[in-house]
C-alpha cells in the first residue's frame, strides 16, 4: 500500500501550559493534534505521579501532532516560544501515514 512521509512531533509539557501551547499551534496553522494525559515520570525535576497531585498545575500532558515534513519548522518555531522556559521534552520522529491529504 502507498504510504507518505510525515513528521510526528511529541511535546510533553506541564498541564497548565496545555491550552497556551495548543492555541499557539493553532495560530501557526497546526490544527490537528491529540492530547494524552501523563500518569507520572521522573526527570531533571525529580519523580512525580499524577496520583496525589494537589492540582492540575503539577501534572503533565503530551501533545502529539503529525504533519507534513515541510511544515515542521513553522510548528517548532511556534512551540518553542511556549515551551522555552518550561519543564518538558520535545521530540520529532519520522513516520509514514496512509492518507497524506489528512495532514
Amino acid at each position: 500500500m502507498q504510504t507518505h512521509k510525515a513528521k510526528r512531533v511529541v511535546i510533553t509539557i506541564e498541564a497548565i501550559m496545555q491550552k497556551r501551547l495548543t492555541d499557539t499551534l493553532e495560530r501557526a496553522g497546526v490544527t490537528g493534534y491529540s492530547i494524552l494525559p501523563v500518569l507520572g515520570g521522573s526527570g531533571r525535576s525529580g519523580a512525580w505521579t499524577r496520583e496525589g497531585q494537589i492540582s492540575r498545575a503539577s501534572g503533565m500532558v503530551q501533545v502529539i501532532c503529525i504533519i507534513k515534513p515541510e511544515r515542521l519548522d513553522g510548528l517548532l518555531d511556534a512551540a518553542f516560544d511556549v515551551v522555552d522556559k518550561h519543564i518538558g521534552v520535545v521530540t520529532i520522529s519520522d513516520v509514514e501515514v496512509l492518507r497524506a491529504e489528512r495532514f
Binding site: 525529580g46 496525589g52 518550561h86
Partner: protein
C-alpha cells in the same frame, strides 16, 4: 495561657485534625492509601459550595454593614502587602534566589481556603460567631499577592508582566467562581434556602472535611517525602514564623476594621495561611524558573500543617484575649 493550651489540645484531638495526621502518617510510611483524584475534587467542590452558601446565608440573616467594604479592602491590601514582608524575611532567613524568594512570597500573601474552612469549623465547635462575608474576603485575597510577587521579580531586573490570559485564569479559577457563586446563592436565598439544603451542606460538613483533610495529609506527606533536602532549616523556620507574623498583621487589620472576635480570628487565619493551589499554578506559568518544590513544600508541607494544628487554636485564642470576647 491555660486557655490556649486547652484549645490547642481540643483542636489536636478533633476528628478533623486526626484525619489529617492519619493521611500524613500513611504517606510518610509509604502506605498505598489514596483518595482518587476525582473523589478529592468532588470533596473540595462540596466544601467550597457549603462554606460559600453558609457565608451568604449568614449575610442575608444579619444584613450588610459598612464593615463589609472595609473588610474586603483590608483583604486586598493584606494580600498585596504580605508578600513584601515574606520576601524580606526570606532574604534574612534563607539563601533562596530572588526569583524563588518572590515566588514563595506570593504564596504567603494569598490564602489557603482549606485552612479557612478548618478554622470556621473550630469556631463553630466553640460557638463563636463570625461575619458570613469573610468568605468573600477570602476570595479577594487570592490574587493580589501574585501581582506583588511578579513585581518583586521585575524590580530585580527581569521584566515580568501578567498576560491577560493568566489574569483571567486567576480571577475566574474554579474555586473562586464556586465560592463566590455559592455565597451569592446563599445571600439571595437566605435562611429559607439554607433550611432547604441544610441536611446536605450543614450536617455532613465536618465528616466531609475529615475525608478531605485525610487526602490533604496524604498529599502533604508525599510532598515531604519526595522533597527531602529541598528545604534547609532557615526555610523551615520561615514556614513557621511567617504565618505568625501574618496573623499579627491580620489581627491589626481585623481590629482596625472592627470585626467580631470570630471575624478577627478568621482574618488572622487568612493572613497566616499560604496558597498551594491557585498561586503555584500561576507561578508555573509566570515564573517557570522558580523551583516548584521549594514553594509547594513550604506552603503545603510546613505552613499548612502548622496552621492546622497549632496556628488556628492560637489565632482564635489571641483574638478572644485581645477583644475580651
Amino acid at each position: 495561657m491555660a486557655d490556649i493550651l486547652d484549645l490547642a489540645a481540643t483542636n489536636l484531638l478533633s476528628p478533623v485534625i486526626l484525619s489529617f495526621v492519619l493521611g500524613l502518617m500513611a504517606a510518610l510510611g509509604r502506605s498505598d492509601l489514596s483518595v482518587p483524584e476525582a473523589a478529592a475534587k468532588a470533596l473540595s467542590i462540596y466544601l467550597l459550595f457549603a462554606i460559600g452558601f453558609k457565608g451568604g446565608a449568614a449575610v442575608a440573616a444579619n444584613g450588610l454593614d459598612g464593615t463589609l467594604i472595609a473588610s474586603l479592602a483590608a483583604g486586598l491590601v493584606l494580600s498585596a502587602v504580605l508578600p513584601f514582608i515574606a520576601f524580606g524575611l526570606l532574604q534574612v532567613l534563607t539563601n533562596l534566589s530572588r526569583i524563588d524568594a518572590a515566588a514563595v512570597a506570593g504564596h504567603y500573601g494569598s490564602i489557603s481556603i482549606v485552612t479557612f474552612v478548618a478554622a470556621t469549623s473550630v469556631l463553630e465547635g466553640r460557638a463563636i460567631s463570625s461575619e458570613g462575608y469573610m468568605v468573600a474576603v477570602a476570595a479577594v485575597m487570592e490574587a493580589p499577592a501574585i501581582l506583588s510577587a511578579l513585581w518583586l521579580v521585575s524590580r530585580g531586573g527581569s521584566d515580568r508582566r501578567m498576560d491577560s490570559e493568566l489574569m483571567r485564569e486567576i480571577m475566574l479559577n474554579g474555586s473562586i467562581v464556586l465560592l463566590v457563586g455559592a455565597f451569592a446563592i446563599g445571600a439571595i436565598t437566605g435562611q429559607d434556602g439554607l433550611d432547604k439544603i441544610s441536611s446536605f451542606i450543614v450536617a455532613p460538613f465536618t465528616g466531609v472535611l475529615c475525608l478531605f483533610l485525610l487526602d490533604m495529609g496524604l498529599v502533604a506527606g508525599r510532598g515531604l517525602r519526595e522533597s527531602r533536602g529541598v528545604l534547609n532549616s532557615g526555610a523551615v523556620a520561615f514556614g513557621v514564623i511567617m504565618p505568625v507574623i501574618g496573623s499579627i498583621v491580620g489581627l491589626g487589620a481585623g481590629l482596625l476594621v472592627g470585626l467580631s472576635p470570630g471575624g478577627i480570628a478568621l482574618m488572622m487565619v487568612l493572613s497566616a495561611s499560604a496558597s498551594y493551589i491557585a498561586v503555584p499554578a500561576a507561578m508555573r506559568v509566570a515564573l517557570p524558573e522558580a523551583n516548584p518544590s521549594v514553594y509547594l513544600t513550604l506552603s503545603l508541607g510546613v505552613t499548612f500543617p502548622f496552621n492546622l494544628t497549632i496556628g488556628i487554636p492560637l489565632y482564635v485564642a489571641v483574638s478572644q484575649a485581645v477583644t475580651g470576647g
